[in-house]
Amino acid sequence: MTTPIAPPPKKDPQQRTRVQTLPSGARSRAALGLTAAAAEGRFMLQVCAKCGTVQYPPRDACGTCLSVDLPWKDIAPEGRLIAETTVRTSTSTYFRERTPWRVGTVRLEAGPSIICHVHGDVARGGAVRISNRLDKSGQGVLFALPAERTQNMEDDPQLREMTANPKFRRVLITDARSGNALALAQAFAKAEASIIFVGEAEGWRPYPHRDELAAIPGVQLLPLDVTDTSSVAELAAEIGGKTDILVNNARFMRPGGILARGDTVFARDEMEVNYLGLMRLAQAFGPAMLGRGADGQNSAAAWVNILSVYAYSNLPALGAFSASSAAAYSLTQCLRAEMRPGGVRVMNVYAGPTDDDWHQPLPPPKVAPQALAKAVVAGLKDGLEDVFVGDVAQDLIDRWRAGPKILEREMSETDGGAA
């Protein structure tokens, strides 16, 4: 079992906040395939299309037959720890600050032996499950976990470096009025977040779940409207230095594409909330989070965007909304690049139709708020960058990867539930 982490003490105001150092982030183009897979929490390696050899480490030509046709495939994660060592000193500043650090060699049942980080609960010579994680540099690294769950295993210090576990962290959910705010707050409370700040826009008009939200232990409702720069700046001034995980669930959507609407009023609202709202939050909260990536157990850890999967391919029935989602998606790529030096993960959670008023005429399947919230917390615990929630989102991204142009044509014949 892992020694459970203790609630972090209050910050010593006389000590300099520890600066984030990073493990080496350089990778060959071939090796970035591991990073792409880790972004979704998939353990993938190249498998030679010609001879079937599983490749490790990633390379440009098959080690057996020299074929260059090496597609990335999901690999069975089972293996056995065949050698291990505990690093006590290192030339890398990042690792020197974090020793002792356990590494080892695992023989995979799928064939190759791999070098990997090793969880503290893995026994010498024990059975392991390989997990592909993003490290603080945002690069894919292989991590050997015990084959069976062990007690408090999430609290392993090496694993916690690879994840954004909400336990003992302070979360900001940006939009209390959203239909998923309640489920998100409940999920974070269950995940032992220490404080759950929830931003509340337009306190001068009521919304149905306010009392229930306010009653969740740890929830603090604070004024925040992502369309109002002064409100975002004020809240960041108050709590920016103790926002460890920011979940941007603010969203504006109305059905319709271009021609039926005939004006830009809703389109502007969509851009104000979905795109500029994200920009305002990032400008206000980003710098403080960037500076607190290594600030102890409750360091700044992750920025979560809840996005429509139609960011990838426009659904004409929700055409203007899709366009604002695409703009937001593009901005998250910029944010991810800018937050990476601070070791702060930017995680996008994509959903198709969600179970709310604006998708009410649409038939199932729809993503329930609880399912979305569960995916957010699970994604943070796994340290992911991309999460696709529900069948619609998963199916769409699969089709997008297979052929975006084909998908574009298919989308024009998809019912978006626009009444």
């Binding site: 306190g203 001068w204 008009r205 004024p223 409207d225 109002d228 720069t229 002064s230």
Partner: protein, 274 residues
């Protein structure tokens, strides 16, 4: 208004002196344009009035070393604002119906303040009726033609959710009945009608016939509306002058504006409160 200006220049000179001496006070009837000030809320499938928003362009910094300025955005009907006749379907064909077309002299006029604050305190759906107007006239005389008429409710003192007072069946705030509006517009010939609430109509104004009677009758007859007014408790029932000049927006149906009143200083209790 019984003053006959035999010599307009002397009259204006006297006014200037009175403004300097404080014998005539200037009362600001305007709320601050604030991002968090409530606006009217429509069902979400309709377009909404934009909230007031402000973005800094520079603040004596690398974006502009010696100057500070902002861009702001809002709707025509955001904050303390003016409603032109073209705002309502009943006023769509009224000549000079948009803010840029209204002759400037229409913006200034004597003002009658009907104090409904006690009624509104007891009943959030308090109605301004012909009976209330009759009682006011019994005390203050007949409402002169061309007057601004303001309905004082002290609603401007409410904060947060209490202002719109929105519930599952809509907003609850005081306002005029259709009969009262017909009396004011058709029989008294008023210039315009103003309130402290978010609209000239009651929160439940949709349920009258016609719906939203203040908007319907005022604008159908080419008269004006003022809403989200402030400090009406600092005005006398009669004897003040209201100045309400909207922005000159081409084809504008309304505009945020600074509303002020010139008030004779007769030792009114709130002189130092501004």
């Amino acid at each position: 208004m019984s003053v006959q200006a035999s010599n307009p220049a002397a009259l204006l000179g006297d006014l200037a002196l009175a403004l300097v001496s404080g014998a005539v006070e200037v009362v600001d009837l305007t709320h601050t344009l604030d991002p968090d000030f409530p606006v009217i809320v429509l069902p979400p499938e309709f377009g909404q009035c934009a909230r007031f928003r402000m973005e800094e362009i520079s603040a004596y910094d690398h974006r502009g070393p010696a100057w500070k300025w902002h861009n702001f955005t809002c709707g025509e009907h955001t904050g303390t604002h003016f409603d032109a006749p073209s705002h309502w379907v009943s006023g769509r064909d009224v000549p000079n119906g948009s803010v840029d077309e209204i002759p400037a002299e229409r913006f200034i006029g004597p003002v009658c303040v009907i104090d409904c604050s006690q009624g509104a305190k007891a009943n959030e759906d308090f109605e301004l009726t012909p009976e209330v107007i009759a009682a006011w006239e019994a005390e203050n005389g007949r409402i002169p033609e061309g007057s601004w008429v303001l309905m004082r409710t002290d609603w401007s003192k409410r904060r947060g959710a209490a202002y719109l007072n929105m519930r599952d069946d809509g907003a609850h705030s005081p306002g005029p009945t259709p009969e009262a509006m017909r009396l004011l517009v058709d029989e008294r010939g008023i210039r315009g009608f103003g309130t402290e609430t978010v609209g000239t109509d009651a929160g439940q104004g949709a349920h009258y016939t016609p719906p939203y009677p203040a908007h319907f009758f005022l604008h159908g007859a080419g008269r004006y509306g003022l809403q989200c007014l402030n400090n009406l408790d600092r005005l006398p029932a009669t004897g003040a002058m209201l100045i309400a000049t909207p922005l000159k927006i081409r084809n504008g149906t309304g505009s945020p504006l600074r509303v002020i009143a010139l008030v004779p200083n007769q030792g009114l209790p709130n002189k130092d409160a501004q």
